[in-house]
Symmetry: C2
Subunit: 492 residues, 2 copies
């Protein structure tokens, strides 16, 4: 299985060598056979627990239930395991994370899992100065304090403290229970920023923080969800920083090695790939999961997919109105990633970390994601929110030109000629609909409370969005898997 | 067909005679045969245009294309035509509109259509005083001016003028193009109300207006969409009022007579009911619509379902990222309707219109929806937003008791003993997911612009949400159908 998973890594990759500009647009996933499968023969399985989705949550749950002596089967729509953890190989074989990339020392669950599986980590390159590109001017600065005027800095500091303070009052398992929750859920983060900060520099920096965390503009998210996210991680600083924070480390060989090794441990026979689940039918004490080419009969089913993917399945009996409407109110963020591979990370020799922030797109945030060896040099740019929407409808040639122009302005002329340019557009992927995380809309958290994770009959629900610690991260996905496995174990 | 449609009207109706309280909860729609159909034989059709959805939009388009000499076939998930236009019969045969009910003199498209089909209208009873129940106190008032202090009234008047003024600056075909659109899209209506009004009475009245128009709380909707809605209708007053406004009239025999007659004109053979469309596959110059039990091959396909229903279909090739993400950001409102049938409209003799507004639920707005003859008396209560969420998880006995207690407080002891109590919960209907209309979330209109109605290959999209005049209403549904029919006619 490991081999076939690795072969599939290049699926969907929009790649062009430096001399090979093509006009191909990052496409919608070539749907894995829904056209053929319904008419083809369907393999029948019978297990204790069927799991929909082979992301970190589903695989964690499957692994834990198997260790407890339960029989499991995982059905996955993509032709690979990992879900939002997806690593592709650049032309020279360098692993590039299209999905979840970074891990911080506070994220003990995913770090523990990686250690158990023998997947090492290395530190994200973070020595030197960062680049800031605001109002057409390039500046550099050291550490985490951006190059803005003192007044804006003080204001930013005050507001970050206020956000951390509000967040600390939340119960991450019931953020709706805080007395001020309704007020916080009734306003967008955009409104809160403009109400509380006078400096347009502060507005810009907090808008950028929002983009970098959620891949949505600050008007697309309620304050309450920002506060929940901060609470679930610990502080805004631990979310945003690199050293001793969420961007500190990366996994040797790419993040997807973790789900690949988990799937390999489950066994070839326990995961069906390229099998989008279309229907889940409960009849008496059995529930049947209908994927393309496979039918799994189980006592319990774990639906381990992000909120916007849940209602794409036909459930019989139907989902509760509360869960269905909450899923309607939890859209995925909008994100692309643009990567340039160079012979070496040339910016390091210039005293630059490779981290940049910009107030103009398509790329507004960059990171050095070179392998631990330092060779080749890999520069990654996030394309978030409105930029991602516009990025998704331009040609590969235009995307490449726009991104490399930005990299050149920020890091120097060497950036213009990478060995390879590649990018991905998550919004276009049929089985993802966006990334990195679903964002509950204003009023949804207080209106629907815990409806997302509530079991319904034989159905259980888990994803990084249901986590209470590092929700939205790999660590949260593992926590969600552990919680649902315990829940199902107790119900069996 | 007309006969079978009428028979199906009682589907999903949670009904209990006065003496027959049952514990049944308004259920998720008994899914129309997805379990059987995929394995059963599928009828194959070949037409010029396939239409997904037999609501007013789909039927208008089908009718217009047929009149232009095109062959059409309509595939509908429900076991009835009408979509959000749905009339059931009370035990005594009185038609009760579960869905769209009212029509105003400005709504010339739907009125013209009704006239053409021979469906008459009658005036909503509007003589006497309205009831207002705020802070536990019952007051009555005449006309459209609520019973609040003068300061609040003046403030309300100022704010309504301001909303109308802002709205008038919008192009209803491109609300995102207004220079202030981004600012208006970045804040919730809740925020706008609290920023602009000091009186809590004003807050309450505008929150209630929001609930009554969209069935969402004011925190669940951006200001820009409220303004678009006002613009598309003409003014806030024409949306909210009864006389000479959107609630002025009702259709003899129930609104669903219109789609029923339209379907009858199309012919028995042109509509397949109980056939949820699962997949739509374009291959060369034909597109195949796969419904349960029917497969329609067409040159063009009109997807005439509300935004949250669109992505429940698997499209090959996939939907554009823009349309798919906009649909993720356009949840349906949350709404139930509770109806009590009395021998006579006893409130009329007391000098009451039967119209009440309340600041406590489950019912916050009522209307006299008795037939034009005035017999029997039918009182209808809207259960909107948060109230609808809570209503949906209580028993029929509890719902009946709560609603009749409210009706009794407002209209007198006679209200306690109806001939029949019935209710519906749209959020629980698998093929609707809520009602009356999809609400774009903050940032969506400016972020995704016209993506909802943009054709994609052989696919065209229309629903009342794509209308520019009376969007969200029956009139808008007809307009949307006319527009898409012209678009498809030109493309064929």
């Amino acid at each position: 299985m490991s081999e076939s998973l690795r072969l599939s890594r290049r699926t969907l990759l929009a790649s062009a060598g430096a001399g090979a500009l093509t006009a191909s647009v990052p496409g919608r996933a070539a749907a894995a056979g829904p056209d053929e499968a319904p008419s083809g023969p369907s393999e029948a399985r019978e297990v204790d627990v069927a799991i929909v989705g082979a992301g970190l949550t589903g695989l964690t749950a499957a692994r834990q239930l198997k260790q407890a002596g339960r029989s499991v089967h995982v059905v996955e729509a993509d032709d690979r395991v990992g879900g939002r953890v997806w690593t592709v190989d650049a032309a020279d074989g360098t692993p590039v994370n299209w999905g979840a990339t970074f891990v911080g020392p506070q994220q003990t669950r995913i770090l523990g899992l990686a250690k158990e599986l023998g997947v090492g980590t290395y530190k994200t390159f973070n020595t030197g100065k960062n680049v800031q590109f605001f109002n057409g001017n390039r500046k550099t600065y050291q550490g985490t304090i951006p190059a803005v005027d003192l007044g804006s800095l003080l204001e930013l500091n005050t507001l970050m403290s206020r956000l951390n303070g509000h967040a600390s009052s939340l119960d991450p398992a019931a953020p709706w229970a805080e007395p001020r929750a309704k007020e916080w859920d009734a306003q967008t983060f955009y409104t809160w920023i403009r109400t509380n900060a006078r400096s347009t520099q502060t507005h810009k920096l907090l808008d950028l923080a929002c983009l970098s965390l959620f891949s949505v503009e600050s008007q697309e998210i309620p304050l309450l969800h920002v506060l929940f996210y901060i609470r679930s991680a610990g502080s805004l600083q631990v979310l945003l920083n690199t050293g001793n924070a969420a961007q500190e480390q990366q996994f040797d060989g790419g993040s997807q090695r973790i789900p690949e090794l988990m799937a390999a441990q489950l066994g070839d026979d326990a995961v069906t790939l390229s099998s989008p689940v279309r229907r889940v039918v409960t009849d008496g004490d059995r529930t049947i999961v209908h994927g393309d080419g496979v039918t799994v009969s189980a006592k319990r089913v774990i639906v381990a997919v992000p909120p916007p993917m849940i209602p794409r399945i036909s459930f019989e009996p139907g989902l509760s109105a509360l869960k269905d409407q909450l899923c309607q109110r939890s859209p995925m963020g909008s994100v692309g990633k643009a990567v340039a591979v160079y012979d070496r990370p040339f910016w390091r020799a210039k005293g630059l970390t490779g981290q940049a922030t910009s107030d103009t797109g398509p790329v507004k945030i960059t990171f050095d994601i070179s392998p631990g060896s330092g060779t080749p040099g890999v520069m990654m740019g996030f394309v978030d929110g409105q930029d991602a929407r516009e990025f998704g409808v331009t040609s590969l040639a235009d995307r490449r030109a726009a991104v490399l122009e930005q990299f050149t302005t920020w890091f120097g002329p060497e950036a213009a000629s990478p060995k390879e340019y590649l990018d991905v557009h998550w919004d276009s992927l049929e089985f993802h609909r966006g990334c990195p995380v679903a964002v509950p809309q204003p009023g949804a958290i207080t209106g629907y409370k815990g409806a997302l994770s509530a079991p319904e009959g034989a159905l259980h629900f888990a994803c990084t969005e249901t986590a209470t610690r590092w929700s939205g991260y790999m660590d949260g996905a593992v926590q969600a898997g552990e919680v649902v496995a315990a829940q199902v174990g107790a119900a069996l």
